[in-house]
């Protein structure tokens, strides 16, 4: 090996990348060549210097600082672009009348005036969660987007509260992925009545139902920033969470409140990051993470918009939005099903089914529909016109419903029918009967037949 060859291989040699034979050749050349030995010494010295410098910079860890900045920036950007595309369409509807626009402006002015006086009475500039709890008391209107990791479309909520902070009206958009049974739906809740528009089934349901209302309020509670902050505060008092507050000097940047649930808390490994607007002390977003394999994994987030921007009352009624050909079921105006009277649960279930088929045999579709959740007569006729019901062969025995949440029973039965000129038996195994939601003491067939 000559000097040129040796020099060519020196870096690879220093890196230990040469095969055995070449290593030996380099080494034997080095033994006899002071120039190449000096060259190797230079290389090694430089390598040491670079390695030392590399190690010095490795001590700096930017990871958390960068991620914090990204989260904060993201929340700012989301709030800035909030009035675009899809949301714009909805808000156009909300803001279309001059009166609501002015009302919204008035509310905003009132709120900012309040927060100024409020801030004025506060001596320390440091943020404390109590400030957000206090600020929340003035909230009457809010719009919430709730994102789940892995899903693009958020659940959306519009909520209006009364002076005491109790929910007065609410509107929910539930995307397809969150409602596999019913498909995408819109629910509006007002005056203890719920309107449900099942988009895929093209069904519009009006109910006065405690259960539906409770479910709805549960949903709203989950997404209520006021409750989120109060719960967090309570958890902190109990020592279940550790709270870190980071208040940037720049007043336009949100305060980041990081709540980490401790190992022995009800939600170990959970971390929520609340972004709080510095001026109003209201929460603009909450992001949820779960510790998994040493990493905080993003679970989802809730974003809060348009605090105290009055929501058009039309948003809380679906009448103008639903398609003309939708099937309407109104369990508020119409008494559906049969009253139980002195009959037992199984007896009334059988009676509902018996009267349902009796109505179909005489082609009284309106009556049959009334016994089936108040389905409109013309819809029943459209669906069942091609079948001629001849007689009931058997009804029962009554069995518990396989899906307990329905709180109903199964009434299997067999009827004799004529279809396309052919007479046959039709066995219905899955016919369900239950109490009418919001109409105590009445029973109805539910679901499809």
């Amino acid at each position: 090996m000559n000097c040129a060859e040796c020099k060519e291989n020196l870096v690879a040699y220093a890196e230990g990348l040469l095969p055995e034979s070449k290593t030996q050749a380099v080494e034997s050349h080095l033994q006899g060549c002071p120039a190449c030995r000096a060259e190797l010494k230079h290389i090694s010295a430089l390598r040491d210097r670079l390695t030392a410098n590399g190690k010095a910079s490795a001590r700096i860890d930017l990871e958390n600082a960068v991620l914090d900045r990204i989260l904060r920036e993201q929340s700012l950007r989301l709030n800035k672009t909030k009035k675009t595309d899809r949301q714009l369409q909805l808000w156009r509807k909300i803001m279309k009348s001059k009166i609501t626009k002015l009302a919204a402006a008035a509310v905003i002015i009132a709120v900012s005036a309040m927060s100024i006086t409020y801030l004025g009475t506060f001596t320390s500039p440091a943020y404390a969660i109590e400030q957000t709890i206090k600020a929340n008391h003035s909230v009457r209107y809010i719009y919430v987007k709730a994102f789940t990791a892995g899903e693009d479309e958020p659940k959306e909520f519009w909520v209006q509260c009364d002076e005491l902070g109790a929910v007065k009206c609410a509107r929910l958009h539930i995307p397809e992925w969150a409602s596999q049974g019913d498909g995408a739906k819109v629910v509006v809740w007002k005056d203890n009545k719920a309107e449900v528009w099942l988009k895929r089934k093209n069904l519009f349901l009006k109910v006065r139902d405690k259960t539906a209302a409770d479910r709805m309020l549960e949903f709203v509670d989950e997404c209520d920033p006021k409750l989120a902050v109060e719960r967090l505060y309570a958890q902190q008092e109990q020592g279940a969470v550790k709270i870190d507050i980071e208040q940037p000097d720049l007043k336009t940047e949100p305060i980041a409140v990081t709540a980490t649930y401790l190992a022995d808390s009800p939600k170990p490994g959970r971390r929520s990051v609340l972004f709080v607007d510095q001026a109003t002390k209201l929460v603009t977003a909450i992001k949820f993470y779960q510790l998994q394999e040493g990493e905080y994994r993003y679970l989802g987030s809730q974003e809060y918009y348009d605090y105290n921007q009055a929501i058009d009352p039309e948003m809380f009624s679906l009448e103008d939005e639903i398609p003309a050909d939708v099937t309407r079921i109104d369990q508020v105006a119409l008494e559906v099903g049969l009253p139980q009277g002195s009959l037992g649960d199984e007896e009334i279930a059988v009676e509902v089914v018996r009267q349902f088929f009796a109505a179909l045999i005489v082609e009284n579709y309106t009556e049959a529909g009334r016994l089936m959740e108040g389905m409109p007569g013309d819809k029943m006729e459209e669906e069942l016109r091609h079948i001629k019901f001849l007689r009931v062969v058997s009804i029962g025995p009554v069995a518990p419903h396989p899906i307990p949440e329905t709180r109903g029973v199964l009434v299997p039965c067999t009827v004799e029918i004529e279809k396309n000129g052919q007479v046959s038996y039709w066995k219905l195994e899955q016919l369900g009967v239950r109490q009418v939601h919001g109409q105590p003491g009445r029973w109805t067939i539910f679901g499809g037949i």
């Binding site: 890196e15 490795a58 960068v66 993003y298």
Partner: protein, 177 residues
């Protein structure tokens, strides 16, 4: 197994912001060294590196070749550094009467080396940054920069020669002063 840059870039694009941390972890060392060489101060290099990562995160949708993430990051870093230098110059003009240069305390331990690395031609610089500041072996560098192992060692060899030369000149300057 360690995931590729491309994998994490895709994850970030699909809304998994948290996965960006892996890319930060991977490139913070080389990026910091690069920026320290340009800006001459650890503190401002750190700030510039943070800024670079944040900008990169929000622009990640526009990154055409996820496999060239590193050179893309260096490009953003260069722009951030340039902006900072401009701002610095403005404030420096004001402060000139007070102190002629940035105080020596602010400089990193081996600023001369970092500056020499930053002054290397692009292809040599990337190899050095990944090898010494990114904790990569030569074969990992080869994989990341999509070049044969032989080219990596050859580039390293040339880079060493250039580094030596510019460090030598630097020392001569210091001596003359």
């Amino acid at each position: 197994m360690e995931q590729t840059d491309k994998y994490y870039v895709e994850r970030c694009r699909n809304g998994h912001a948290d996965d960006f941390r892996f890319l930060v972890r991977r490139y913070q060392g080389p990026l910091l060294a690069h920026l320290a060489g340009r800006l001459g101060s650890r503190d401002s290099a750190e700030e510039a590196a943070q800024e670079t990562f944040v900008r990169a995160y929000f622009a990640i949708g526009r990154l055409k070749k996820p496999q060239s993430l590193f050179s893309w990051l260096l490009g953003i870093g260069n722009r951030v550094a340039k902006e900072r230098q401009r701002n610095l110059q403005r404030s420096r003009q004001l402060a000139e009467s007070l102190s002629q240069r940035i105080s020596a305390v602010e400089l990193s331990a081996d600023y001369a080396l970092e500056r020499a690395v930053t002054a290397l031609p692009e292809s040599y610089r990337q190899v050095v940054l990944l090898r010494y500041y990114g904790g990569c072996s030569c074969s990992q560098v080869a994989e990341k920069l999509d070049m044969p192992l032989g080219t990596v060692t050859k580039n390293l060899s040339r880079a060493y020669a250039m580094l030596r030369k510019s460090l030598q000149q630097n020392e001569d300057c210091e001596v003359r002063k």
